[in-house]
């Protein structure tokens, strides 16, 4: 339960960029898991894929509901975080790591489209197999890889634009 909570929370936090929203969404995910556990059939796939798909659907619903608020308030905040962390990195060895890298990554992910963001999160944060990601997103494996390449490249460009050493 603890390991799954960590996975779901990390996915929600990386996607929404808000600790409180991630907590509420993680809670909602587990309540839905409890209510719909009967619909899970072990023969049709792994529990992890089922749980991730459920989380992803909830995140997409949440994103659609809050899309207008997010456009107005988040970008400026994210740019602020990037600038602050970059100035910190130039004072040290220029290479961010640990908590600072995590915060900058968060700011960078927020600049990606939801489609690319979810691909990057599922592969590079959640470390899922391409086959599993394809099942979660209900797209071919080739599409997953394509989105992943574009998402990673876009993230690197965003970070470089704000003078983050990558």
């Amino acid at each position: 339960m603890k390991a799954y909570t960590q996975r779901v929370y990390a996915m929600c936090y990386r996607f929404t960029n808000s600790a409180s929203e991630a907590q509420d969404l993680t809670q909602e995910v587990f309540l839905r898991v409890f209510r719909t556990l009967k619909s899970f059939r072990a023969g049709e796939g792994s529990f992890l894929v089922w749980l991730t798909r459920l989380t992803r659907n909830l995140l997409i619903d949440h994103y659609r509901r809050n899309r207008t608020d997010r456009v107005t308030d988040s970008i400026e905040d994210q740019l602020g975080v990037l600038e602050e962390k970059v100035s910190l990195s130039t004072r040290t060895d220029g290479m961010l790591a640990g908590r600072e890298a995590s915060e900058v990554l968060q700011a960078g992910l927020a600049r990606l489209s939801p489609e690319l963001r979810e691909a990057v999160i599922l592969r590079d944060v959640e470390e899922m197999e391409y086959r599993e990601i394809a099942q979660v997103l209900n797209v071919p494996e080739g599409t997953v890889k394509s989105r992943l390449n574009r998402g990673r490249a876009e993230l690197a460009r965003v970070l470089r634009r704000h003078k983050v050493v990558v």
Binding site: T5, A10, K145, V166
Partner: protein, 207 residues
């Protein structure tokens, strides 16, 4: 290899999961295609940066909060399934209040104190005492001992009664005989001691 094929193979290339032959093909294409080389470079940089970032940990209270809400959810669904147990619990709910528990605790405490003052020895209950066989044997033993005590008391009572009856039987004839014996002994004695009164009486009667 064209750019579209490279895009499919790039993920496996960055993972280091390509066979040597395919890897050589990808590297050959990257050497000749600037846009694909740029894509590969950026993707590689992003993967490395994400690898350096700290893993996101949920706040410690989140799991407790989820479990609390799940428990609430279970309890909401429980009444349908609980049936008789739920009905029984609802009946007992007014009794199972803290004030009743406190009252019960005080009663037990008072009784134990009274028992202590009265000299009743209370033995500490052990796990072995809760063995059903031992409990049945204990009850049987107590019933047997109780029955023996009642029988003994009854027999003692009967013995006492018999003795009393026998004594009474013995004493009653004596009492019955006593007046006759008294009369018999009294007459000559009176006469012997003072013959005059009876003579007087006889004389008074004759007169």
């Amino acid at each position: 290899m064209n750019c579209a094929e490279l895009e499919i193979l790039l993920c496996d290339y960055l993972d280091g999961a390509l066979p040597a032959e395919r890897k050589a093909e990808v590297e050959a294409h990257l050497a000749g295609c600037a846009s694909c080389a740029s894509l590969a470079k950026d993707a590689q940089a992003a993967v490395e940066f994400i690898g350096r970032a700290e893993v996101v940990e949920p706040p410690p209270e989140l799991l407790t909060r989820i479990l609390f809400h799940l428990r609430g959810e279970v309890q909401r669904e429980a009444p349908v399934a609980a049936g008789a147990r739920h009905w029984f619990a609802q009946w007992l709910r007014p009794v199972l209040q803290p004030k009743f528990a406190m009252g019960m605790a005080m009663t037990v405490l008072s009784l134990s104190m009274l028992g202590r003052f009265a000299g009743i020895e209370v033995r500490q209950l052990t796990a072995a005492d809760l063995d059903p066989v031992k409990i049945v044997m204990n009850i049987e033993d107590r019933v047997h001992r109780g029955w023996l005590a009642v029988r003994k008391y009854y027999e003692n009572l009967r013995l006492v009664y018999e003795i009393q009856t026998r004594i009474q039987e013995w004493t009653v004839p004596e009492e019955d005989d006593q007046p006759a014996a008294n009369d018999a002994s009294k007459g000559p004695a009176t006469d012997g001691a003072s013959g005059r009164p009876s003579t007087d009486r006889r004389e008074r009667g004759a007169k």
